[in-house]
C-alpha cells in the first residue's frame, strides 16, 4: 500500500484498502476558519441540535484568517459567531484575532502550533488543507456539510484515492524553489490532471527540501485537482513536529512495491524559474520567456508563499536593490512576522532589507489579497493592475478585480520582477 492508503486503512480500522474503496474514516483533526466556520456551525446545530456537543473538543481547531483586517461588518459578525461557539463548546484551540492567541493563515499556523502529526487524518473547510501532507499526514479539503457531519460524529465516508507518484531526482539549484517544482508539475499534468488522486512526492530533491518548501508543493496539489498531496515524513519532518507537539503519533510509509496509477520522474537540475500565466495555475511558462510582460504590482504572501523561507528568498534578491513597482508583503502568521524582524542576512534584518528596497509597509498576518476579499483588503486589486504573486491561484478576479491579470511565481522570481518591473528570471540577480 501507499502512504495514503496506509493512513486511511488505519483510520478506518482495516488492515488494507485499495483505490476506489468507499470507507468510513475516523478524523484526527477538523480545521475551520472564519469563512466556512459559521456555515459549518450552522449545519452542525441544525442537524445535531442547538445543544449538541462536538464529538471531541480536543480535535476541533478554529483559526480565523481570511477577513480579519477589514471594516466589513458581516466579517466581524462571523468571527463573533466563532467566539460564541468556542465559548459554548469550551474549545481549547481557537486563535482569536482580538488577542495574543491570533496566529494568521490557517495552513501555516496549523503545523506551527503542533496540530499536524504524521500518519493522522486531517480535514479542513479549505481546499488548501492538502498543505499538511508535507508532514506525512493525510489532509484534504471539504465543504461545510461534510465538516458539520464530522463535528457531530468524528467520521467521514470517503473514497480511497489512486496515487500519482512524482520522483524528483538530482540536486536542486539555488534558483529553483518549491514553487517552481509544483508549477512545472501542474503545467505538465494540467489543471485537472490529478483529480480525485493523491499526489505523492519523493526523491533526493524532495528529501533535501526544508519543510516550508515541502508545504508549498503539497499546498498546490489541489491546483491539479488532487484530493491530497503527501511526502513521507523523514527525520527533518519528525524533528519539525516533535519541536511543536508532545502528542504521540505513528508515521506511515509507502511499501517498496506500492502501486501507483502513474509514476513521473524529474531531474530538478533541469528546471528553470517559471510562472503560471493568467488565468490558471497550469499555464506554465519559463520566466525568462516573458520579459516583455510589464508589471504594476508584486505580492508576497499567503499559505503558499508567505512563509519565512519565502521572505528570506525574496530578501536575498532585494538586499541592496530597489523595487520599481508597488510591492506588498503579507507574512502568513505571527511567527513569520516575528521572523522578519529577527532573521538577518549579512547583519541586516529582513524588515530593514524590505524597507530599504522600497516595499510597502509590512501588513499584519492574514490571507489579505490572496483571495481578493472585502473592498478594503490590503493589496486587493481594483482596476487593471498586472500582478506577479507568490500565491497559489490566478483565476479571473481572484485578487479582487476581474480585469487584473495575475502571474504566479516563486518569491525569488517575484522579487526579481519587482526590481525590474517586468517578469524576470531571478538568475539575473543571483
Amino acid at each position: 500500500m501507499t502512504i495514503t492508503e496506509k493512513i486511511l486503512a488505519r483510520a478506518a480500522g482495516k488492515t488494507g484498502v485499495a483505490p476506489g474503496d468507499n470507507i468510513w474514516v475516523n478524523v484526527d483533526v477538523l480545521l475551520t476558519h472564519d469563512i466556512c466556520g459559521p456555515g459549518t456551525i450552522g449545519v452542525f446545530q441544525k442537524e445535531f441540535g442547538r445543544d449538541a456537543k462536538v464529538w471531541d473538543r480536543e480535535r476541533v481547531v478554529i483559526i480565523p484568517d481570511h477577513f480579519i483586517f477589514t471594516n466589513d461588518k458581516k466579517a466581524h459578525r462571523n468571527v463573533d459567531t466563532l467566539r460564541t461557539f468556542v465559548r459554548e463548546q469550551n474549545l481549547p484551540y481557537f486563535y482569536d484575532p482580538a488577542d495574543d492567541s491570533y496566529r494568521g493563515v490557517c495552513h501555516v499556523a496549523l503545523p506551527q502550533e503542533g496540530h499536524v502529526r504524521p500518519g493522522e487524518v486531517i480535514f479542513g473547510t479549505d481546499s488548501h488543507t492538502c498543505t499538511h501532507g508535507a508532514l506525512g499526514a493525510f489532509s484534504s479539503g471539504i465543504g461545510n456539510t461534510d465538516a458539520g457531519f464530522i463535528m457531530g460524529t468524528g467520521k467521514l465516508l470517503i473514497k480511497v484515492p489512486h496515487t500519482l507518484r512524482f520522483t524528483l531526482d538530482g540536486r536542486r539549484p539555488d534558483y529553483i524553489m518549491g514553487k517552481d517544482i509544483i508549477l512545472r508539475i501542474i503545467g505538465d499534468i494540467g489543471f485537472e490532471g490529478a483529480t480525485y488522486g493523491a499526489m505523492e512526492f519523493r526523491g533526493a530533491a524532495i528529501e533535501a527540501l526544508p519543510i516550508e518548501e515541502r508545504m508549498t508543493i503539497c499546498n498546490m496539489a489541489v491546483e491539479a485537482g488532487a484530493k491530497n498531496g503527501i511526502i513521507a515524513p523523514d527525520q527533518t519532518a519528525l524533528d519539525y513536529v516533535r519541536r511543536r507537539t508532545a502528542k504521540p503519533f505513528q508515521p506511515e510509509y509507502s511499501d517498496p512495491d506500492a502501486k501507483a496509477l502513474h509514476a513521473y520522474r524529474y531531474q530538478v537540475s533541469e528546471f528553470v524559474p517559471c510562472v503560471a500565466k493568467p488565468h490558471a495555475p497550469d499555464q506554465y511558462a519559463p520566466a525568462a520567456d516573458l520579459g516583455d510582460v510589464k508589471l504594476d504590482r508584486a505580492y508576497i504572501g499567503s499559505c503558499t508563499g508567505g512563509k519565512l523561507a519565502d521572505f528570506i528568498a525574496a530578501a536575498t534578491i532585494l538586499r541592496g536593490r530597489k523595487v520599481s513597482i508597488d510591492t506588498f508583503l503579507v507574512p502568513a502568521t505571527r511567527e513569520v512576522a516575528t521572523g522578519l524582524q529577527s532573521e538577518k542576512i549579512q547583519g541586516q534584518t529582513l524588515t530593514d532589507i524590505f524597507k530599504q528596497a522600497g516595499c510597502l509597509d509590512i501588513a499584519p498576518p492574514s490571507c489579505a489579497a490572496c483571495l481578493g476579499g472585502p473592498e478594503d483588503t490590503f493589496g486587493r486589486t481594483h482596476g487593471k493592475e498586472v500582478v506577479i504573486s507568490t500565491t497559489n491561484r490566478n483565476f479571473i478576479g481572484r485578487m479582487g478585480s476581474k480585469l487584473a491579470p495575475i502571474y504566479l511565481a516563486s518569491p525569488l522570481t517575484v522579487a526579481a520582477s519587482a526590481v525590474a518591473g517586468r517578469i524576470t528570471d531571478p538568475r539575473k540577480f543571483m
Binding site: 441544525k46 485537472e192 491561484r393
Partner: protein, 179 residues
Amino acid sequence: MTSPILRGKVYVVGDNIDTDQIIPAQHLNLVPTIPAEYKKLGTLALSGLPAEYPPLVKKGAGISEYVIIIGGRNFGCGSSREHAPIALGAAGIRAVVAESYARIFFRNAIATGEFYPWETETSLRQVFNTGDMAEIQFDRETITHSDSRKEFPLKPLGDAKAVVEAGGLFAHARKMGMM
C-alpha cells in the same frame, strides 16, 4: 419523488469555471445557513464570470430564469467554499451538466443536495446556446435539446442521485435510518 422530467432554459459556460467565478470571495462574508443570506448568495451566483456573459440572475430578480447549466471540463475547480454550489441552488439551478467536475465541488453539490451534478461523455457546448430549452429525463438519464429533439446520454449518477433527491447528505442519512 422528484418530477421525472426537468424542463427549462439552459445557461452555457466554458471550461474551468472556478469557484471564484461562481461566487467571488468578497461575498464569502455571507453565511449560507442564514436564510436571508442564502437568498442573497443566489442573486450573486456566477457574478465572477467575465463581463461578456449575461447575468445568471437579472438585477432585481430574486432567482434565475435558467434552471440548467451546461459546462465544460473541470467545473467548480478551486476552493472548497460550499457557498459555490449553494449560490447556484439558491439561484434556482436544478442541474449542472458538465464534462467533468473538480472533486470538492462535486462532493459539496451532492452533500448539500442543491442540484444534480451530471456528467456527459462529449461536450454539449456546441449543441446548446444560452437561452435554449432543454429537458432532462431522470429515469433514462438523458438530456434533450428541445427545439432539435436531439438527445444525449448523461453518465449515471449512481448512489449520488438518491442523496440529491433526498435533499442532501443529512436528509438522505435520516431517510435511510443511518441517523
